[in-house]
Amino acid sequence: MTDTVEIAVTINGRVHRLTVPPRRVLADVLREDLQLLGCKIGCDQAVCGACTVLVDGMPVTACTTFAFELDGRAVTTIEGLAAGGILDPVQRAFLEHSAFQCGFCTPGMILSVKALLARHPEPDERLIRQWLNANICRCTGYQMIVEAVRTTARMGSG
């Protein structure tokens, strides 16, 4: 077994050449190596969704994704969403609807919604709720989050 793996991964638009142990997970690379602390780890076993990031546009749980799997792929974290300081429409909708409380689940939730709207620009209520099943929020009761998703979808700018 090799001790380390060389990978080239695009993170928030910038290519990083990294040397990682095979067991190292994406969440640790983001948080510890790159100081992208917006990726939160809640359950550490792909249940709560707090660590959700986008890999080639698809939501994945960074806590259970090996870094070596990302060679040649593009990762978007919450830090990469607001281009040039302009908030993404999903971020704006979360702000406007107060779709957060403690905020620990929020980065993962926003990225998850981003992926939803990319695939389904006009999700119905059922689909929104189903999709959000992947992200636990213990504070809000989800209603304001669902409203934020509806608003973004209506604006057609997910």
Binding site: S98, F100, Q101, F104, Q130, T140, Q143, V146
Partner: protein, 756 residues
């Protein structure tokens, strides 16, 4: 969502919002200190056992391991025990373990992986002891006892005539007693007496940010970066445990990633300090979510209520016997028992009341504060029985409640403050939204049956005789820093407290920043709990802002050669008649250099009253109303909430959107517990203490129709706020008891309370 109009003029903007939607928000989870080690904890596999020996030699020899601590290290501390009022939980198990998950040893190493590996090298010899896993088993004759000798601490202080006992019997941690009138005599005269027993389940807080602490010990100074909700309570605990003066303890708080009571009071913090001392380096301990499930729960309980009613449906007397499962250690059981016992009467009028409530020790995860602090347990049993009695007497549960509800202004109990919300009006609004009167309360179609149910809860808000201090610093530019110890846990304290200061100072909200919390410089409070953030801390902030404003006006009056009374402050400009004088140049001219800060101080102490049962009347009441329509599949047993209406009277909200968020979030927690959420014990260990198997509500569980109302049920009243209570309604005919909850971060106020 229209409550009473806000007293404030400026629109509310969540000040923590931009940080939270961009990932910039920093939690204790994100804190890193140079040179820090990482710790992991070895936990007991047995519910009850003596520790014969612990050998950490092999663990300590593992490369990368810096220190290991065991009960032997804890035993050498000046006071190794913690807990609220009654202190029986050791920093690390000393001689004995009392539940599966109890802390037996801890290791600090260069990384978490090494610390984990080291745990496997620790050799512990146990002598297994018989365990008591349930309340019944713990109270049985000859049951094994968790503690052989009395533990440290005192019973909770209560008003005259009430009973508060510490360790009155084996395996009983504490006892609460309240009587008013002669309940036996009144029951004997009642037309009907109903006795019912209710079992309340055990749940976990499941805050997504785990318990996480970083400790650094430098000379005499102990520093902690803690996710704790109560920085100053923690400071006292650490000072006592380590025998250091409190000015040598420094607690830093950050954003808290959810708590719900799970991060109230002392938890892992002293263990991390102990490790840092032994290692001679900073140490971070971040529990896993699995471990959080083994750290604290909400009290399970058995509640027996004996309630008398006249034949025309008037409640007469209630006798209650309440046993809460406190688990292995005290934590906040002593307080929870008081609140459950006191709130068991619900928002109703009684001729006589007799209540006994106990916390029972069992070999299970310790139980402590959880959103509403005993209120849910009480409301669940009380409201369930109200429904059952109504049904037995053939009275509509709505009518039955209305007939017995306390009126506006009527004291909750003799010596306590009057109910400050129109409870019947609030119930009416929920009933209206639900369509309770328009349709049959129950119906069936094929194998699916529907039913509607109502519930009311009430909680004394703001803590008992609570107090807080605050500072407002006004910079030369007119920008302000609000300094108070209410931590931002998602309730909106940052925004709410800043808004109070901004309004008092006539400044734009975004000119105010909520300062970092550091016990070295932040003024003290009693902790971020008991729904006190807006009303208690809020008043302190308001007074601090008013004090700083008075200083500014004094300064300007002196410069302008007039009296302060002639001046008004508006957007950092002083107005005198038709003339406006900008403050910034005036300050620059007089002080030069870096300018000057006007530092206002404010404090509040809710007066004690020896006649009040809990030593001080409730500062305000937090009523909740719930209405639910539920569908049950009689073939599969599947329960679906079709329509859920929850209401709470938040008075005049300082932060209305935060109020709505609190109601919705709290109600969904109660919804989960009503329908499926439970930390289950099958045998000696919880059978589902993992994130995957411990099932919390998901977005897909939301009721089809979920409405929140904030009825205009109150009357103008002094500044108050609310925090979370959880109080149940009961959806007819199902096991589901929908528990509404309530809200941190709202203020009720009359405009005259605010400086104009």
């Amino acid at each position: 969502m229209d409550g009473v109009a806000s007293p404030f003029r400026t629109p509310v903007v969540a000040l923590d919002g931009p940080d939270k939607v961009t990932g910039a928000a920093r939690y204790t989870f994100d804190v890193s200190v140079p040179g820090m080690l990482h710790a992991k904890v070895l936990r007991s596999p047995y519910p009850h056992a003596g520790i014969l020996s612990i050998d950490t030699v092999r663990a300590e020899a593992l490369p990368g391991v810096v220190a290991a601590v065991t009960g032997a290290d804890a035993a050498r501390l000046p006071d190794p025990y913690y807990g609220v009022a009654i202190r029986d939980q050791p920093v690390v198990a000393i001689d004995k373990v009392r539940y599966v998950g109890d802390v037996v040893a801890a290791v600090a190493a260069i990384d978490e992986e090494t610390a984990y590996r080291a745990l496997a090298l620790i050799d512990v010899q146990y002598e297994k002891l018989p365990a008591v896993m349930t309340i019944e088993a713990a109270l049985a004759d000859g049951a094994p006892v968790l503690f052989d000798t009395p533990v440290a601490g005192e019973p909770v202080k209560l008003g005259g005539g009430l009973i508060s006992l510490k360790e009155p019997r084996p395996n009983v941690l504490c006892e609460f007693g309240y009587t008013h009138g002669d309940a036996d005599a009144v029951l004997a005269r009642s037309d009907h007496i109903f006795e019912d027993c209710f079992h309340f389940s055990r749940i976990n807080h499941f805050h997504l940010e785990p318990h996480v602490n970083i400790a650094r010990v430098t000379g005499e100074l102990i520093e902690l970066w803690s996710c704790n909700q109560d920085p100053f309570v923690l400071r006292s605990d650490i000072a006592r445990i380590f025998g250091r003066p409190a000015n040598n303890i420094r607690i830093h708080a950050s954003y808290v990633g959810g708590g719900f009571g799970g991060k109230s009071f002392c938890k892992m913090e002293p263990l991390v300090v102990l490790l840092a001392m032994k290692a001679g380096r900073p140490v971070r301990l971040c529990l896993s979510l699995d471990e959080s499930l083994l750290t604290l729960t909400k009290h399970a309980g058995i509640l027996v209520l004996k309630t008398g009613v006249t034949k025309d449906g008037r409640l007469t007397a209630r006798k209650s016997e309440i046993q809460l499962d406190g688990g292995a250690y005290s934590d906040a059981s002593a307080l929870t028992v008081v609140k459950t016992g006191y709130r068991i009467t619900g928002p109703y009028r009684w001729d006589a009341v007799a209540t006994r409530a106990y916390a029972v020790r069992t070999n299970t995860v310790p139980a402590g504060s959880f959103r509403g602090f005993g209120g849910t347990q009480a409301s669940f049993a009380s409201e369930s029985q109200i429904d059952m009695i109504a049904r037995r007497l053939g009275i509509d549960p709505y009518d039955f409640r209305c007939k017995n509800l306390l009126a506006l202004g009527e004291p909750f109990r003799l010596g306590d403050s009057g109910i400050d919300s129109d409870l019947a009006k609030g119930l009416d609004e929920v009933v209206e939204r639900l369509g309770y009167r328009q349709r049959a309360r129950s119906s069936a179609q094929g194998h699916k049956a529907r039913g509607m149910g109502l519930g009311i809860g009430i909680k004394d808000g703001g803590g008992t005789g609570n107090h807080a201090q605050a500072l407002v610093k006004l910079l030369p530019s007119g920008r302000a820093i609000v300094s108070a110890a209410a931590v931002e846990i998602g309730q909106g304290a940052t925004t709410t407290l800043s808004r109070i200061a901004a309004e008092t100072l006539n400044l734009p909200l975004d000119w105010v920043r909520y300062g970092a919390i550091d016990t070295d410089s932040t003024p003290l409070d009693n902790g971020t709990h008991a729904s006190c953030g807006t009303v208690v801390t809020g008043i302190a902030v308001m007074r601090a802002a008013a004090d700083s404003r008075a200083q500014v006006l004094e300064f300007a009056a002196e410069r302008l050669g007039c009296t302060a009374a002639e001046l008004a402050l508006d957007n950092w400009t002083v107005r005198r008649g038709n003339f406006a004088h900008p403050l910034e140049p005036m300050i620059a001219e007089h002080y030069g250099g870096a300018g000057f800060e006007f530092i206002g101080r404010g404090m509040v102490k809710v007066p004690n009253d020896p006649k009040a049962p809990l030593t001080a009347p409730a500062l305000f009441w937090m009523p909740n109303w719930v209405g639910a329509e539920v569908e049950v599949d009689r073939e599969t047993g599947k329960v679906q909430v079709v329509h859920l209406v929850v209401g709470a009277d938040s008075g005049r909200s300082v932060n209305a959107v935060a109020c709505r968020g609190q109601v919705e979030g709290a109600a969904l927690q109660a919804f989960g517990q009503s329908l499926f959420e439970e930390l289950r014990y099958d045998g000696v260990a919880p059978s589902n203490a993992t994130p995957l198997t411990y099932r919390v509500p998901l977005a897909g569980d939301l009721p089809h129709c979920y409405e929140v109302v904030r009825p205009r049920a109150g009357r103008p009243r002094p500044v108050r706020l609310g925090n979370p209570a959880r109080h149940p309604g009961h959806a007819s005919r199902i096991q589901g008891y929908l528990t509404s909850n309530s809200m941190p971060g709202y203020v009720r106020t009359t405009p005259q309370d605010y400086p104009q």
